[in-house]
């Protein structure tokens, strides 16, 4: 009998392994060592192959501009014969984790995206020096290695966000978007639009999503960014430095909590607590909400919804005093992998994108982004890019300090506080204290 049970056990585990493989499920974690390790082991063999040997490979972190980049790469190949393959990651994919496994597998791309200091710390010393490229003199937004002072990151765009409004609805409601610069103005506007919901065809005033599993980046990074640097000069890091020490300015956070509470109150409740990015965007883009807490990156998605209304970006002005600036910065940079044998080809491609009209047309016109390059004569056409460009031109921008917060803090700490507040599990005072304790805990454990 013993033999039989052993046989059944063996047969069972074998078929389990079979189906686990079939389903591509997570069942393969049995070797607790995990997958990345086995890739590390194969590193020494170094026998990975890429699609085409001469192509330079770019890992792009903005899946929204995947098509446009591929079009530009094709044009570049027609002109110079150099093939460029674009690999876009995004929509919830962990990019730096993916890059690490590429690195471990000896399959590192020639160019890859970094999001700021946290990402760059992983690749210090492994990025090629780009100081001699033509684009460097043409922009202030390049990413510089703090120690060596050399430019290592190529800025492909400037991005900004705040509260994006549907200008047509605001006009019908008789609200001038330029007056939305403080808490009271927003409160009055929300109340007014809320009262006119039926005649404007709205289901809610705002479209906000605060679910912590998938939308933590919107709340824990973007919205929180306004607490850190909203209304401040670009080089003012007061609240950011405090946060890194685990401290929170109670007065500012209290005002901020009031404003978030106001946003939540006038939001579509389903979208608020369980909505995804698509739900949030659809609600606003279909004209069922007047405001959305996203930035100019939704521009390329607007044609999918046949958006015909005018729109613009207003600052998320949570303070009693006027706040006229929006948060705008270079969201991420492209680095060239220093150990690649195609560094020069990469540099040529980057210069092509930055300094030629064709390259700029791709980034600015087709992808709906804002050029960080002074010499660029291509003006943006998409509505939010135009709106943001006016802030950039007038110098009314604050930095993206949140991008340099400890890695994972939005997903594992701050985003949770936003969600609990949205569900009503905690009130405004608890929001302030929990924000304080969550940040303090996270920073202490880092």
């Amino acid at each position: 009998m013993k033999k039989k049970s052993l046989a059944v056990l063996l047969a069972g585990t074998m078929s389990a392994a079979l189906f686990a493989g079939c389903g591509g499920s997570g069942a393969s974690t049995s070797s607790s060592a995990g997958n990345s390790k086995s890739e590390a082991a194969s590193e020494s063999t170094g026998t990975t192959t890429t699609a085409s040997k001469d192509a330079i490979r770019l890992v792009n972190g903005k899946i929204e501009i995947d098509e446009q980049l591929k079009a530009a790469a094709k044009k570049y190949q027609e002109e110079t014969g150099q093939e460029v393959s674009i690999e876009s990651l995004g929509g919830g994919v962990d990019i730096s984790g993916q890059l690490k496994s590429y690195y471990a597998a000896g399959n590192m791309p020639d160019m890859f995206v970094i999001g700021g200091d946290g990402d760059y710390a992983n690749w210090t010393g492994k990025c090629a020096d780009l100081s001699d490229c033509a684009f460097v003199k043409d922009t202030d937004f390049g990413y510089t290695d703090d120690e060596t002072g050399k430019v290592v990151g190529f800025p492909y765009a400037v991005e900004g966000y705040g509260i994006t409004y549907n200008a047509d609805i605001l006009e019908k409601a008789g609200i001038d978007p330029t007056t939305l610069v403080n808490y009271d103005a927003y409160k009055a506007a929300f109340e007014k639009i809320d009262g006119m919901k039926e005649e404007l065809g709205l289901s809610a005033v705002c479209s906000v999503a605060a679910e912590s599993g998938q939308m933590y980046w919107s709340t824990g990074n973007h919205l929180f960014g306004y607490y850190l640097s909203g209304g401040l000069e670009r080089d003012d890091n007061t609240y950011f430095d405090m946060a890194l020490e685990g401290k929170v300015d109670t007065d500012r956070m209290s005002q901020y909590a009031d404003f978030i509470g106001l946003l939540y109150q006038y939001s579509d409740q389903q979208t608020l607590i369980s909505g995804t990015y698509d739900d949030q965007l659809a609600l606003w883009a279909q004209g069922k909400a007047a405001f959305i807490t996203e930035g100019n990156w939704i521009d390329p998605s607007l044609p999918d919804y046949n958006v015909s209304f005018n729109c613009g970006i207003a600052p998320l002005a949570f303070t009693k005093e006027d706040m006229t600036s929006v948060l705008a910065d270079s969201p991420s940079w492209w680095c060239v992998y220093g150990e690649s044998d195609k560094v020069d080809a990469c540099k040529a491609f980057l210069d092509y994108l930055a300094t030629t009209e064709e390259g700029q047309t791709c980034l600015v016109k087709d992808a709906g982004m804002i050029s960080p390059y002074k010499s660029s004569t291509v003006e943006p056409e998409s509505p939010l890019a135009v709106s943001l460009k006016t802030y950039v031109n007038e110098g009314k921008t604050s930095s993206w300090a949140w991008a340099n917060m400890p890695e994972g803090i939005a997903q594992n700490a701050i985003g949770l506080v936003y969600e609990s507040y949205a569900k009503g599990d905690i009130d405004k005072d608890q929001f302030v204290t929990m924000m304080q304790s969550s940040i303090a805990d996270y920073v202490a454990n880092k």
Partner: protein, 346 residues
């Protein structure tokens, strides 16, 4: 050729082979590019094998056995053993996924148990595992009884119940997420999604996992039930045993070994639950515990993943994985040894 010459020839081959292999490895560690080192390594290995075979002694069968085993042993070593050992080493360092700068001793192991989220995930996973074993096995066993009874179309039922298991966990998770978030809230107008409540969200994962896995477990029970000898069943029928008595006194004791297998499989499966967890909730919603907020549906595997990938703390994640392995090994071996005592010897 005499024995001495044979011997010296094969010894020569062994030495040359060893030198070639060592040279290839040194070339590789020095980071030389080029494919030469690969050929050197293979040539060296072949020389050693031939040299061993030519050696004039009587252990040829052993060498041949070893040769046949080699592909499997090598693959197992490269894909399981080496990563496993490396993983244990990494857990004592400050590895960040790219490089190691220093050894930190037991620091990672101490930090881990100081973190509320890890302790919570640990308890949650244990509780979930217990409930899930019960629910999956009861559901699977009932389905198996149904599929071995005399109802019409039982082959269709068998296939239908098994089907969810063939869909990948990630796809299935997103489909169910849609159902929980959109379909249920539309059908029950005004209700909030189950996935926004900390307790209901765990229940949702439990439900989907049972739904997915019960069909698979059912198949094993069906095999077990079919192996019960029909003469024993007939004899009990003649003695006037009711179907219920037959089930509890004959069928269940006779297939106790199947229970061992099924409970073992569900235990390991629920302990390692990852794909459904990631796709249905990804740790959300939040749960307020005193003055702290944590993710309410973050099971151990997801906690490990998020520590390494999300927080970019690869060493700590690896440490958790080592502990995860130890716990899983202890729990499943204990379960198998207990269940085995209950099995009937025919």
């Amino acid at each position: 050729m005499n024995t001495a010459a044979k011997k010296s020839l094969s010894l020569g081959m062994l030495v040359v082979g060893a030198v070639l292999m060592v040279a290839a490895l040194i070339l590789d560690f020095m980071g030389t590019k080029g494919a030469m080192r690969g050929y050197l390594l293979i040539a060296g290995a072949l020389l050693i094998i031939v040299g061993l075979l030519k050696l004039p002694n009587k252990k040829h069968t052993k060498i041949v056995n070893g040769l046949f085993l080699f592909p499997m042993v090598f693959t197992f070593g490269v894909t399981v053993m080496i990563p496993f050992i490396l993983g244990i080493i990494y857990s004592f360092t400050d590895w960040n996924g790219v490089s190691v700068t220093q050894f930190v001793g037991l620091e990672n192991y101490i930090t881990m148990f100081r973190q509320l989220d890890f302790v919570y995930s640990f308890i949650l996973t244990l509780l979930f595992t217990i409930v899930n074993i019960v629910s999956v096995n009861i559901a699977g066993f009932c389905l198996a009884l149904l599929c071995t009874s005399k109802i019409k179309g039982k082959n269709f039922f068998r296939a239908a119940y098994f089907l969810p298991n063939l869909i990948g966990g990630i796809v299935l998770g997103y489909v169910w997420q849609f159902i929980f978030n959109k379909v249920f809230t539309t059908v029950f107008v005004g209700s909030n999604s189950m996935l926004t409540d900390a307790n209901l969200a765990i229940l949702a994962i439990l439900f989907v996992n049972t739904w997915q896995y019960a069909g698979y477990i059912m198949m094993i029970y069906v095999t077990g039930l079919q192996s019960v000898p029909s003469d024993v069943l007939e004899a009990s029928n003649v003695d006037g045993a009711s179907p219920l008595t037959t089930l509890f006194k004959i069928k269940i004791p006779m297939i106790a070994n199947t229970f061992t297998v099924c409970i073992f499989l569900t235990l390991v499966n629920s302990f390692k639950l990852f794909d459904l967890n990631l796709s249905i909730t990804n740790g959300a919603p939040s749960r307020v515990l005193g003055d702290k907020i944590i993710q309410s549906t973050e099971f151990l595997a997801l906690n490990i993943y998020k520590t390494a990938i999300g927080k970019n703390d690869y060493a700590l994640g690896q440490t958790k994985a080592v502990v995860f392995f130890v716990i899983l090994a202890i729990v499943s071996l204990t379960q198998v040894s207990i269940s085995k005592k209950k099995e009937v010897e025919l």
